[in-house]
């Protein structure tokens, strides 16, 4: 992340957004909220969102952590069949089912954030159950206490297998986990020394995975004194984690990453902007909920610094598309597509996770994004509101290609589409031979291939 100063007034930035006039609070803003804090919004959600204030909208999502009984039940059934195959390759389909049906979208979005943050890859871990269990931990603490999440993750079998720490002996300890907990999980690069890493690695000696569970092997633990960040003591692994969590650089690092995830890919990594939120995060004992409450209802969140200032992740791109139009499709095919465009769930590219932003976009992923949309639209299994696209449009009073282009643009695009492009799309689709359904699908295909649609 590139840091740099902005001229944004910090007090203004983090104050709650209060639309001056009722007409300033628009469907476009509610759609912006759900693109960032959820996984897209359908017309009903947009309508309901308009009845709430920005603060109510954010608080509603943060306090709602109970998935609906129906989704839980379906998800559990799917999980049983996936885990019975013991093949981690089937896990992405299980998760996308949740992403497409969840009643608590922010919780799922944050689970996705932590999955990228504490990136653990099934390619190496292999065990589907362990990957699944880690996903449950991420969901349980998604909006909870960061410190407790770090403690859980540091003894999570999948993580320790991934970072080669499943057996750590006191002679020549393995440094991998000690390095990444500082560099990638809590502090950020540059906030520790190589000596700190070597000393922290000594704290983790004796940590093992036995029969898929965390196990402390006292015979392999180094009980001697260690010195980390100038503190000396006979620290255990848990105390080592606490020392890292108490380091002053941590809250800034996490807040910066959350700003990038929720508000803008670029241009807002300003220490002055980060500081007040980091202070709040620190004072709350590293509670994620209150931090997000400020962030996701703020003036900055709804400002021009945020709107359209993110590239859609593959999940936002494909799941967001389906969710906005109440779509459903073949989950295995959807996941094949997500893999092609660079986000195979449970298989992050490395321990740094998905970096996001412009990195999502290259010529190969762009062609694959378009191809994914074309294949989704072509499949008979893809339904909108359980019917055809034209039926779905009609049920919302949209009956012509001209009306459709306006409606889709409002539902799907983070930046307005100019009149010239709108009419070009309509013209080109009217020239196509075929049914009204074919024309509509072509029209929708063109909209989701627009550069504008790549922005969140």
């Amino acid at each position: 992340m590139k840091t740099g100063q902005t001229n944004i007034d910090t007090d203004w930035a983090w104050s709650a957004y209060q639309p001056e006039q009722p007409q300033d609070w628009t469907q476009r803003q509610v759609a912006h909220f759900y693109r960032r804090c959820g996984l897209g919004a359908n017309p009903e959600m947009l309508k309901a969102g308009l009845q709430k204030s920005p603060v109510e909208l954010a608080v509603g999502q943060i306090s709602n952590r109970q998935e609906s009984a129906q989704v839980e039940q379906e998800s559990a059934t799917l999980a049983r069949s996936v885990l019975a195959t013991a093949d981690a390759k089937n896990l992405p389909a299980w998760w996308t089912h949740r992403l497409l049906n969840t009643s608590v979208p922010l919780q799922e979005k944050m689970t996705l954030f932590w999955h990228g943050h504490f990136a653990t890859g099934a390619e190496k871990v292999k065990d589907a159950q362990l990957m699944f269990d880690q996903n449950q931990i991420l969901r349980e603490y998604a909006l909870g206490n960061f410190g407790r999440l770090v403690h859980e993750i540091s003894q999570d079998p999948a993580m320790l297998l991934y970072l080669d720490s499943a057996s750590n002996r006191k002679v020549h300890p393995n440094e991998n986990f000690a390095r990444e907990i500082m560099e990638l999980f809590v502090l950020g690069e540059g906030n520790y020394s190589e000596t700190d890493i070597r000393e922290l690695a000594r704290c983790f000696t004796g940590w093992e995975i036995r029969r898929d569970r965390f196990y402390f092997n006292r015979f392999q633990h180094d009980f001697d004194e260690k010195t980390i960040f100038s503190h000396s003591g006979k620290f255990t692994g848990e105390e080592g984690v606490d020392l890292v969590l108490e380091h002053p650089a941590g809250p800034e690092f996490i807040v910066g990453k959350l700003i990038q995830f929720f508000i803008a890919d670029e241009g807002l990594q300003d220490p002055q902007l980060i500081k007040p939120l980091a202070q709040k995060f620190r004072n709350s004992g590293l509670e994620v909920g209150p931090l997000l409450e400020t962030m996701l209802a703020s003036n900055l969140f709804y400002s021009e610094y945020a709107q359209g200032r993110k590239i859609r992740s593959p999940v936002d791109f494909a799941v967001g598309f389906l969710n906005s139009l109440e779509g459903s499709t073949n989950l295995l095919e959807l996941n094949k597509g997500l893999d092609e465009i660079g986000q195979r769930l449970f298989y992050p590219p490395n321990v740094k996770g998905w970096e996001g932003g412009r990195i999502w976009i290259n010529s190969s992923t762009l062609l694959a994004r378009t191809n994914l949309m074309q294949s989704l639209l072509k499949r008979d299994e893809t339904r909108f509101g359980q019917g055809s696209l034209s039926e779905y449009c009609k049920s919302h009073g949209v009956t012509t290609t001209k009306e459709a282009v306006d409606w889709f643009a409002e539902l799907l695009l983070a930046v307005p589409l100019n009149d010239h492009k709108q009419s070009e799309i309509v013209q080109r689709c009217e020239m196509i031979d075929g049914s009204y359904e074919t024309k509509l699908k072509n029209l929708l295909g063109l909209i989701v291939s627009l550069p504008e649609y790549q922005l969140a």
Binding site: E189, E194, E266, E340, N418, P451
Partner: protein, 407 residues
């Protein structure tokens, strides 16, 4: 090699022989030939991601210290593929050993940089951009070379990244969008209807979005993707090869590079990656497999280039973000280290070991000390192979190295 250059070289060779001034002519002819070469030479970069263990790649098989520090990981003396009386290749690198015998491989030893960073991501960024963290990292060293080579030209195929994952920062350029291509076949829009491709291209064009905005970035990336895919549909199947590549991912990527070079699409820089070198635990089997993949793939690639008559036009450079600690750790692996060897493959390069192997006794906190800055390698390649002004790309003039056979 293009027909023109090949004919030119043949002409000059026979011409000078006929005229009988072979002894005096090379200086003159050589200069012209080099200029022609400079405009067509191709660099292929192979990135070994994760930190390759240099000590188990080029093995100091006569040094007791090596065996003492690595009781379980050291390669036995009798197993190494000898380069000379002190050093040998890991036995999995018979591909490299053959390339060396053929006079096509050079090993630059002890490469690194001052105040080494042992974070994968930070160190890789340093290798890619040649900038420390506080510096401007908007583009990479190859991106800057691409901007220099293609200045004022609208072509988007001066550089190409083979793969569909994250594009390496090394090829990020200010003025050109470098395409990422997994395979030529895959690099196309499913719908090949002319009208719909035309529609997408037309709708993707930027109107009044700001030059550095995200929207402008996506717009130019989209038109580049469509244009390059259309261009590639035409060059597809231009030349096939009789060389059988191994079934590995890296071999597949290099095969694509060879196809693209043969298609005369005009790229000067190709970039491929092979991941998995972060061997913290149970290193031996993983590292062996990786080195085998690397050596076998590059050997097949060299044979393919030879068969196509393109061997003089292509230089391959392999690097990793760092080497590994001298001592092994308790999980039968090695942790992040510093200096390591780089590899150059091509017909005009100085073969064998270049520079000294770093000392195993004079260490910096358990790590090897570098003696050759990686930017010296870059500078030499930029100047002598790609005909670029390296000082503009690397911010200063680095001392060049004797990597190429003097012509």
């Amino acid at each position: 090699m293009s027909l023109i250059r090949r004919e030119f070289l043949q002409l000059t060779a026979t011409g000078s022989a006929v005229l009988g001034f072979q002894q005096t002519a090379p200086a003159f002819w050589g200069k012209i030939a080099d200029q022609a070469a400079g405009q067509e030479n191709i660099l292929v970069v192979v990135q070994l991601t994760g930190g390759n263990d240099g000590l188990n790649t080029i093995v100091p098989y006569t040094q007791d210290e090596y065996y003492k520090q690595r009781p379980k990981l050291a390669i036995p003396k009798n197993d190494v593929l000898k380069i000379d009386n002190e050093f040998g290749f890991n036995p999995a690198l018979d591909g490299f050993s053959e390339l060396l015998e053929a006079g096509l491989l050079g090993v630059v030893q002890g490469v690194g940089y001052a105040q080494p960073n042992r974070s994968h991501f930070e160190s890789m960024d340093i290798w890619h951009t040649c900038q420390r963290k506080a510096g401007d990292r908007a583009d990479g060293w190859l991106g800057r070379a691409i901007d220099q080579m293609a200045e004022g030209v609208s072509t988007e195929t001066t550089g190409m990244h083979i793969g569909n994952r994250k594009q390496p920062l090394a090829v990020a350029s200010r003025h050109h969008r470098v395409p990422s291509i997994r395979t030529i076949e895959q690099f196309r829009l499913q719908s090949q209807e002319k009208a719909s491709i035309e529609a997408m291209r037309s709708l993707a064009q930027s109107e009044n979005s700001a030059g550095d905005s995200l929207l402008n970035f996506v717009q130019t990336s989209t038109t580049t993707a469509i244009d390059v895919s259309q261009k590639l549909q035409q060059v597809k199947n231009s030349k096939s090869t009789n060389v059988i590549y191994p079934e590995s991912e890296l071999a597949g990527k290099l095969k694509t590079v060879s196809q693209l070079i043969a298609s005369e699409i005009g790229a000067r820089v190709y970039y491929v990656e092979i991941d998995g070198f972060d061997t913290h635990a149970f290193q031996a089997p993983a590292h062996t497999a990786l080195l085998r993949e690397l050596g076998d793939a590059l050997k097949a690639f060299a044979e393919d280039l030879l068969e196509k008559g393109m061997q003089e036009q292509v230089l391959t450079m392999c690097f990793s973000e760092f080497g590994r600690r001298v001592a092994q750790n308790a999980s039968d692996g090695t942790d992040h280290g510093t200096a390591a060897p780089m590899f150059l493959i091509g017909s005009g390069i100085e073969t064998g070991l270049i520079g000294k192997h770093p000392s195993l006794s004079n260490l910096d906190n358990g790590d090897l000390k570098f003696h050759t800055d990686f930017r010296q390698v870059y500078a030499t390649i930029l100047e002598n192979w790609l005909n670029c002004d390296s000082s503009l790309i690397l911010d200063k003039q680095y001392e060049s190295l004797p990597l190429f056979v003097a012509s």
